[in-house]
Each structure stands twice: as structure tokens, then as C-alpha cells.
Amino acid sequence: MKRIDYLANPTRFMRLAAVLTPWMGWATVLLAAVGLYLAFFVAPPDYQQGESVRIMYVHVPTSWMALFCYVSMAVAAATGLIWKHPVADLVAKCTAPVGAAFCFLALLTGSLWGKPMWGTYWVWDARLTSMLILLFLYLGYIALVNAFDDPARGAKASSILVLVGVVNVPIIKFSVDWWNTLHQPASVIKMGGPSIHPTMLWPLLLMALAFTTYYVWVLMVRVRGEIIANKIRVLRLKQVHG
């Protein structure tokens, strides 16, 4: 609780972000370099899928990140609504485009992977469809947050929307599963440990970590940008009035 209050002050947040930004940037570069090296040169090609299995090292982490960003957005939105936390509102707002981009990348890499594997760019399979709906939820959020002249109104309305969405995501997922299914079942997170070989698991985890640090990095840059933009607006208003 105390920690949340601590970051509610934009100046304190700016200090933390200034320290964190370069670290996260370099961590992203390093993790992505090692992860991509392992993915391209060390991990074996799949006995069935051949070289195209390497798409997985981008596809799976982006899908995870798309979900992770939505959950972060919901947590930030709830924090902003409950404690009227100004930085949390900005975090939610700045997470949305990043999450939408991850979601889009997951769909794009998935369809590029689907072409050689399933023989088609798109199938109306349950997982693909729920990712597509998640992308729509992101786009709806982005549209709502920018639809008001008063940014505070946009932040509040879109926070309510994201909380409604987060209740709905499992329901949509379940409905779509009922509707159709073709995608392979989860093979990393399940009972009895991962069923994937370590030479493939390591690059996957490193790439997931790289995308997570990338998200934090971009988030810091964006939130700092928003705070500075707010300051400039206030200063301009003062100039006009003073």
C-alpha cells in the first residue's frame, strides 16, 4: 500500500523511471541477442515442422505478452480507480498500444506459421479467434481513452471498460473454445513440468524475458513522455493566463 502511494507522485516516479529506463533497455538488447542466437543456431529444428518451428520463439512470447499486458492494464486501471492514482492511469493508457502491438504480432507470426503447417493463413480456431477478439478489446480501449477532450474523463471511462473486459476475457475464451478448437494444447505451463526439450525451452524463456523487459522499457519511456507532456500543457496554460 505504502509503495503504491510512493509512486503516486509523478516526480518520484520520474526519478525511478530515469534509473530504470537504461537498465531495461540494455537488458532487452542482451536478452534478445542471446535468446535469438539460441533460437536460430542452437535449438534443433523440429522433426515434423523443420525450420519453421523457430517462429515459435517469437510467436509464443508475444502471445504471452499480449495477455500479460491486458492483465497489467486491468491492475493499473483498478489501482487508478480505487486510489485515484494518477500514474496508474498513465500506466494503463501507455500499456494499451504496447499490448495491442504484441497481440497483433502474435496473430501475424501465428498466421505466417500457420501457412506452412496447416496450409492456410487463417483458421477459425478457438485460440486464434480469442486472440483476435483480444485485439478488438485493445482497440476499443485505445479508441475510448482518446475519445474525450478531458484526458481525466478518458482515463476513468477506459478504466471501467478494461475492468469489464477482464471479467469477460475468460468467458469469451470459454465460449470460443466451445465453438471450435484445432490449436495444439499448452505444452509449457502444465502439470508435471514442461513437455518441451531444454534446448527449446531456454530460448523461449529468454525471449519471453526479453519481451517483458522491452515492455517495461517502452512503458517507462511512454509514461515519462506523458508526464512531461502534461507539464508542458500546464506551463502553456499558465503562460496564457499569467
Partner: protein, 222 residues
């Protein structure tokens, strides 16, 4: 509390009746949309019968969404929404009352028109009863979910288009099970599970949506 609830429902119904053609327009949109589908896919009876349930559901969903924009908008513009918020009952009750009135003026006419359209699309006779049953359970859910979106867009630029972007993804589960029940009934499969799940959606949205919609309205008139 029930007195206030009834008063708001009666007021909205009276407004809908006197101000004009809202319900008629919604039904006309519904009919035209369904007819357009038959032009789109051709007059082949087999094809039309196969897609009838889906077409009717999608059109009903769009028709009920079209009228949602006006659910709070007019009251918001003339200030009566603020008076409702100041009323001695929780805003949630007022929201449920307005949603009830909205469903009575738009959802119910759609259900009355649906069998006629099912005949036009040559839907199998087995599905008629179940189509009406799922529309009866499903359209109140649509109105309830839609109320949240209608509250959120108050005072925004580009309200209507925005509303569809916010609400349509949330309608997908209702659509899936609504169409699934009719298709199961026509195919001779058990459809009770679909009905129960639609009932669960209705119960869940009746419990949660008024709360979210009231929060949305409250932040709009703050």
C-alpha cells in the same frame, strides 16, 4: 424503491411511445438487415436455412446496439440523468429501470419479428420455439451489457461508432450460444446446456452490468 423503479420504466416507455418511431425503426432495421443477407448469399433455400439462425442473431444484435446510443444520451443532454443520480434510490436501480424500458421497446419487438424472418429464410420448423426462447433469454443480456457501453461513451466524440467497437466483442459469447442452441435443436441434438449457459450469462450480467453501467454514468456526470 420499486415505486421509483416503476416510475422510471413508465416514464421511458411513455417517452418511447410519444416521441416516435424508435421501436418501429429498430424492427425495420432488423428486417432489412436480414433481407440484405439473402441478397448477399443468394436465394438458395438450403444455404439460407443453414445460416438462418446466425443471420437472425447477428441482425438482432446489431439492431439492439443501434438503439443503445440513445439509452442515456438524451437524458444526459437535457440534464435529467443528473436528477436520476440525485434520486433517493441508488443509481444502479435507475440503470436497471432504463435497461428494462430499453428491452421492452427494442428487444421485445425484435423477438416478435424474428419468427416471421425465420419463415422468410426457410428455417427448419424445429428451431422456431427455441429461437424465440434463446432470444428471450439473450436479448436482455445484450441490453444489460450494452448499458455499460452506453454509459461509457457519454460526452465523448464519435459516440455511436465508438459504442459498437466497445460492445460488439463483448456480445460474442451470447451470439455463440444463442446460435448454438438453435442449430442443436434443428440438428436434433440436446440444447439444454446452451439454454442454461445463456441463463447464466443473463444472471451474471444482471448482477454485474448495472453496477458497471452506474459507475460509467456517475463518472460522466461528475
Amino acid at each position: 424503491m420499486m415505486g421509483v423503479f416503476g416510475a422510471i420504466v413508465r416514464r421511458d416507455l411513455r417517452l418511447a411511445l410519444r416521441q416516435g418511431m424508435d421501436s418501429v425503426m429498430v424492427v425495420m432495421f432488423f428486417v432489412i438487415a436480414v433481407v440484405l443477407f439473402s441478397f448477399g448469399v443468394g436465394p438458395e433455400p438450403n444455404v439460407l436455412a443453414r445460416i438462418a439462425a446466425g443471420v437472425i442473431w447477428v441482425s438482432a444484435l446489431l439492431a439492439s446496439m443501434l438503439s443503445l446510443e440513445r439509452l442515456f444520451q438524451i437524458d444526459y443532454e437535457d440534464g435529467s440523468l443528473e436528477l436520476l443520480a440525485l434520486a433517493p434510490v441508488p443509481l444502479e436501480v435507475a440503470v436497471v429501470a432504463k435497461v428494462t424500458a430499453h428491452w421492452l421497446t427494442t428487444g421485445l419487438p425484435l423477438i416478435l419479428a424474428a419468427p416471421l424472418l425465420a419463415v422468410l429464410l426457410r428455417m427448419d420448423g424445429e428451431g422456431f420455439g427455441i429461437l424465440i426462447a434463446v432470444l428471450l433469454i439473450g436479448t436482455p443480456t445484450l441490453s444489460l451489457i450494452g448499458a455499460v457501453g452506453a454509459g461509457l461513451i457519454l460526452g465523448s466524440r464519435r459516440g455511436g461508432v465508438l459504442l459498437s467497437l466497445l460492445i460488439l466483442p463483448l456480445y460474442i459469447p451470447v451470439l455463440i450460444f444463442g446460435v448454438g442452441a438453435v442449430d442443436a435443436a434443428i440438428g436434433g441434438f440436446p440444447f439444454k446446456a446452451h439454454l442454461l449457459i445463456l441463463g447464466a450469462f443473463l444472471a451474471g450480467s444482471a448482477a454485474l452490468c448495472p453496477w458497471a453501467a452506474a459507475a460509467a454514468v456517475r463518472q460522466a456526470i461528475e
